[in-house]
């Protein structure tokens, strides 16, 4: 409704044209009457051309009103859909991680595209048509009542039945459309997975398996669609029957009145015209209800997303004064599983923290907490001396440059991928960042250099190339705190060393958190923490950890050799 209100102008045009059309419909017969009475009977042939031409003009004008009404209502529908789309998109973007665990991109895409569309059409064409019908029915009923109250009463008595039938159909349709919308989303998800994971599908020769999976959804969609169409078929047939019954029963009532001399035959004849005019709108009810059900189901899905409040509440402070990051006794318990337990550390301005630990020990969770993709269940995280929950998301996340473990690139140019989040960045800065990440070499070798479009998720590039672009992107952002989450794993050793060298030059200017499996990546850090099952089991500098002969030392031995380990002490 809010969206509809924004486009008052278009609605106004539609309604003006609607009434204009009604007026013209009333005028055209008068020309015909004049033609017949004056020209054909009265033989005033001189008026023939004027009359004929004005009639033709009226017809053209009638076409224009129809045209404008239809066009403005089509347009307003899409405007509403567009507004809803953009708002929904923006809302989804602000959701937290739990939301994205519950809803796959395929499902969300379906909401943003299909569901907004169906709501839009209802606010446009369908809505205006429905109003037209309601006006029509009221006018006809009023005219009928003036001529013959008993006949109008027959209609008024039958109309609630039609209403009930329609209401029931709408309710059922609503539920079925809900299922269909759900199934569309599931079908998108299933097909989307088979497409995104096509390498895996092909590698395991599982085309047949995926086809069956999809077939199941396809078949279910078929069943639902057929059921929906059958149901509306019944509803339509019922309403049509009642509409026609209304006609015949009112004739019966009127006829009996005439026979018992309570009404004239002429009145009956013109009353029948009005009843006739009440019948056709009934025939349209079916498909209008169909559309409305679809829109209702879609708008419920959309509302559910809008209503869901992000579990994270945003603070109000919009700038971060100081870049000291403190974790104080932070714990995270999800679904009764301790992910992190009593994690404390401080990263002062310009210092470097190294985080090591086994797969699944909670290393990446620490970075997720720092950027508030989720909140800890105990303890506090302070940034610049204030709880990180005090800041707006924008302020908080602006303080971090992150290279995530998951390599995700957008199907856009290399340049735009580096500039993400800051499209106004100068090309020089972006290229400088690419050079620091050792990415400029391969980018300039691409067909169109920095303007080359990179495939979704960076397909077409090697793992190392993608990773270097991700690093470049983070460096270009140039935030006070740099987080490298296992970000050099796909690089060859030489490149890794070069990048580390570059990063090392940045240290002391920027605070850095390095999550890594390789000793070489963290050994220079001011502090290294070693995680196991969500707890810090060892902490210190490279030297002190080596001296400890614990887990860190074992990792070193595994990566290099015992001799190297003992030698480097």
């Amino acid at each position: 409704m809010v969206y509809a209100a924004r486009h008052k102008g278009l609605y106004l045009i539609a309604f003006l044209m609607l009434f204009g059309g009604i007026a013209l419909d009333a005028v055209i017969p008068s020309f015909v009457r004049k033609l017949v009475d004056d020209v054909m009977i009265g033989q005033k042939t001189g008026e023939l051309m004027t009359l004929l031409l004005s009639m033709l003009g009226c017809f053209v004008l009638r076409g224009v009103t129809d045209y404008l009404q239809e066009f403005s209502s089509d347009k307003v529908g899409w405007k509403v859909a567009e507004d809803a789309r953009v708002d929904l998109f923006e809302h989804i973007e602000g959701e937290d991680q739990t939301f994205f665990r519950e809803n796959t991109p395929g499902e969300l895409m379906s909401r943003v595209k299909r569901d907004t569309e169906s709501v839009g059409t209802t606010f446009g064409f369908i809505g205006i048509f429905m109003i037209q019908i309601i006006i029509h029915v009221i006018v006809m009923l009023a005219c009928l009542a003036r001529l013959s109250l008993p006949m109008a009463l027959v209609c008024i008595v039958l109309m609630p039945f039609i209403a009930v039938l329609g209401y029931k159909g709408e309710k059922k349709g609503d539920a079925l459309y809900g299922d269909i919308s759900e199934e569309t989303a599931t079908m998108n998800k299933t097909a989307g997975e088979a497409i995104s994971g096509i390498r895996t599908v092909k590698a395991f020769n599982k085309e047949e398996h995926e086809k069956k999976r999809f077939e199941k959804r396809n078949k279910h969609f078929f069943d639902l669609s057929v059921r929906l169409e059958w149901m509306f078929g019944n509803c339509d047939a019922g309403v049509s029957f009642l509409g026609r019954a209304m006609l015949f029963l009112s004739i019966l009532a009127g006829g009996l009145l005439v026979i018992s001399k309570k009404m004239s035959l002429g009145t009956l004849a013109s009353s029948v015209e009005y009843v006739n005019n009440l019948v056709w709108p009934m025939m349209e009810i079916g498909w209008i209800l169909n559309e409305i059900s679809s829109a209702m189901a879609s708008s419920k899905k959309i509302d559910n997303i809008f209503k869901r409040k992000s579990r994270l509440t945003e603070g109000t402070i919009d700038s971060v004064a100081d870049d000291e990051l403190v974790f104080s006794h932070v714990g995270l318990n999800l679904e009764d599983t301790m992910i992190l337990d009593d994690i404390s550390f401080t990263v002062s301005s310009g210092k470097t923290l190294g985080i090591m630990g086994a797969t699944g020990s909670g290393k990446s969770t620490i970075t997720n907490l720092a950027l508030r993709f989720l909140d800890p269940t105990s303890g506090t995280i302070l940034l610049g001396g204030r709880p990180s929950t005090d800041y707006t998301f924008h302020a908080l996340r602006s303080a971090f440059s992150i290279v995530t473990q998951d390599i995700f690139l957008f199907s856009d140019t290399a340049m735009n991928n580096i500039k993400i989040g800051n499209p106004d960045m100068s090309d020089q800065i972006a290229m400088h960042a690419a050079a620091s990440a050792k990415a400029d070499g391969f980018i300039t070798h691409l067909e169109e250099g920095y303007s080359t479009v990179i495939g979704e998720k960076g397909v077409g590039l090697s793992g190392g190339q993608k990773q270097r672009l991700c690093i470049a992107r983070a460096l270009a952002k140039n935030a006070p705190i740099l987080i490298l989450d296992d970000s050099t794993s796909a690089l060859d050793m030489e490149t890794e060393r070069e990048i580390q060298h570059e990063l090392h030059a940045l240290e002391h200017k920027q605070s850095t958190i390095i999550v890594a499996h390789r000793i070489s990546a963290v050994r220079r850090a001011d502090e290294i923490i070693y995680l196991d099952r969500g707890r810090i089991v060892e902490r210190g500098t490279h030297q002190s950890l080596m001296a400890m002969h614990g887990r860190y030392y074992e990792t070193f031995v595994a990566q290099y050799s015992k001799e190297d380990a003992d030698g480097s002490k």
């Binding site: 033709l56 045209y67 994205f100 895409m109 090591m356 630990g357 699944g360 391969f442 050793m493 595994a558």
Partner: protein, 586 residues
């Protein structure tokens, strides 16, 4: 490789509108009898509709006028009975039509999906997921709309049009001729409107597809979007795409809706000529009035046909996009006489293999690569990123075919081996291991659906994946999606999945890059167990993984630079030795 981005339009193919419509109609052949029944029912129902006005006339003019109560009641009862019959016909017709049209959608959708899976990786790599989805989910519904319109609007209305024309000419050929003059205006007008709008319907479909792709991509990469505070930027781009949709739609309907003017104007011309002729020929008022009833009946089918014709534009534009998938030739074809290979020893030979992507034939990604791997050997591929290691693996797994040269397994060219056999014997763990939504167990069994619990557990133990699996809330029955696990956990599952499939030739492409050292040690043991006795190819950056390989190939600039064992290459003092020093030059 030329790649389509989420916000750029897809290329448009030259269209053949008539061919598209005929192709859609072709799907109806199998439902010939049902279609005939539907049309018969529609004609019967319309015949009934014609009777209604006669009944009303009779009731008022005859029964009521002659004060015949009984007669009135009879006529009303007949009317009610016919109304019931009409509704019954309607229900049957709707049911048949719903079954047919949805069956066609079901069929085309599954054909399109099956065909899609046959396409080469190049197809998938060069366009966003959301755009492929737009075609097989959204655009397909336009087939249904088209079919329904063709059957329930086109055929019956043509029938009516002919019937009413015949009646009109019999009643009064002069009047009929006058009305008919308006028809060319109508036909010409509709045709022009259709032609003008069509391009915009195509554009509309493309823009809608962009909405799909952009939304899919943004939501897939939401963490990146959020951590780079790019929400606003994304929203602005999306708003732009969304407004382009509205713009193309508006451009289409501003033309299509013009059909209203065409219809009314030609109707006006028809009346103009009719009255003119009536006056000129001194026709009687009665004759004229009787004829006007036919005219309103005459315009009904024409109006419906004109509207249908114009909606057809949008539908054809949608159907074309679906057929485009079906018409894309898979570039990787199974040989016409595929050699079935029930078992494989594992001898692999590359001879003079070169490769370039199909759309960039000039840029050689791989140049004259030759090597041999004997049964049971472990071959390590080393080299800087982008050197061509993954390409060698893509060719070996036959994700792509080489431009020149041959690859053989046990002396049989790869291209002549039956693809299912080939894939069964080659286990690939790719760089980006994909997990499907489902339980951990479902994912593990992906390569071997009938794996027993013991097999699953022992594979996971061998790989070192079971400890984290057991730590999840429901263990092996925990639901996962591609986004819920860490990279390292995903790699562990993917490894276990590959090993469960028990292939004869194993390919590990940076399979352990995100796994921590302690776990990797475990994994190495598992891999060692499994690589023994089968030919293996390993791409890795960590020399610890590579040191024990039977042979190491150093790849750079698309060709093999060095080849030999770890100690041989060290002794050679070339590129490998330099790489080794880089990692250990502490």
């Amino acid at each position: 490789m030329a790649v389509n981005s989420a916000s750029a339009d897809e290329a448009r193919t030259k269209t053949q509108k008539r061919a598209t419509v005929i192709r859609v109609l072709g799907y109806m052949k199998q439902y010939k009898w049902q279609v005939i029944l539907v049309i018969t029912l529609m004609i019967a129902a319309s015949a009934i509709s014609v009777v209604f006005p006669l009944l009303i006339e009779n009731a008022v003019d005859v029964q009521v006028a002659s004060e015949n109560k009984k007669g009135l009641i009879t006529v009303v009862c007949i009317g009610l009975g016919l109304a019931l019959l009409w509704s019954a016909f309607y229900i049957i017709r709707v049911r048949i039509m719903a079954s047919i049209s949805n069956s066609v959608v079901l069929q085309v959708r599954s054909e399109a999906f099956a065909h899609l899976q046959k396409l080469s990786l190049h197809y998938f790599d060069s366009r966003p997921t959301g755009k492929i989805l737009a075609r097989i989910i959204g655009d397909i519904t336009s087939l249904k709309d088209m079919l329904r319109q063709l059957v329930t609007t086109l055929i019956p209305n043509i029938f009516f049009f002919i019937a009413i024309t015949v009646v009109m000419f019999i009643k009064n050929p002069v009047f009929a001729g006058a009305v008919f003059v308006a028809l060319p205006v109508m036909a010409g007008g509709s045709f022009i409107v259709f032609r003008m709008a069509f391009r915009f319907w195509q554009e509309f479909r493309q823009k809608q597809s962009n909405v799909n792709a952009f939304a899919h991509e943004t939501f897939s990469g939401i963490r990146v979007v959020q951590s780079f505070c790019a929400e606003k930027q994304m929203k602005n781009s999306f708003a732009q795409i969304a407004s382009q949709v509205t713009k193309s739609f508006t451009s289409a309907v501003i033309r299509v809706d013009f059909i209203d003017v065409v219809i009314h104007a030609s109707q006006g011309i028809g009346y103009f000529l009719l009255y003119l002729m009536a006056v000129r020929t001194n026709a009687t008022v009665g004759a004229l009035l009787a004829f006007t009833t036919y005219i309103s009946l005459f315009w009904q089918p024409i109006r419906q046909l004109a509207n249908m014709y114009n909606q057809l534009g949008n539908q054809i534009a949608g159907a074309e996009r679906v057929f485009e998938i079906l018409d894309t030739e898979p570039t990787l074809l199974e040989s016409e006489h595929p050699v079935s290979m029930p078992s494989v020893r594992g001898d692999v030979q590359f001879s003079h293999v070169s490769f370039a992507y199909p759309d960039e034939p000039q840029t050689m990604v791989l140049n004259d690569v030759s090597f041999k791997a004997s049964e049971g050997e472990t071959i390590a591929l080393v080299g800087p990123t982008g050197a061509g290691k993954t390409t060698i693996i893509n060719l070996l797994a036959r994700f792509y075919d080489p431009v020149s040269g041959t690859i053989m397994i046990d002396g049989t060219p790869l291209s002549s081996i039956a693809i299912p056999d080939l894939r069964r014997h080659i286990g690939v763990m790719t760089q980006d291991s994909y997990l499907f939504s489902g339980t951990i167990r479902d994912n593990l069994c992906y390569g071997k659906l009938d794996a027993t619990d013991d097999e699953i557990k022992s594979a996971c133990k061998a790989i070192g994946a079971d400890s984290f699996i057991l730590a999840t809330p429901k263990g092996y029955d925990t639901e996962v999606t591609d986004q819920t696990l860490s990279q390292g956990q995903r790699q562990l599952l993917a490894l276990a999945r590959t090993l469960l499939a028990n292939p004869s030739i194993l390919i590990l492409d940076e399979a352990t890059s995100a796994i921590d050292t302690a776990t990797e040690l475990l994994v190495q043991n598992g891999i060692r167990l499994l690589t023994s006795g089968r030919t293996s190819f390993v791409v890795a950056h960590r020399l610890s993984t590579i040191r024990n390989a039977s042979r190491i190939l150093v790849i750079d600039h698309g060709s093999i630079q060095e080849s030999g064992t770890h100690s041989e290459l060290l002794a050679q003092g070339g590129q490998y030795a330099a790489l080794y020093k880089a990692q250990f030059g502490i």
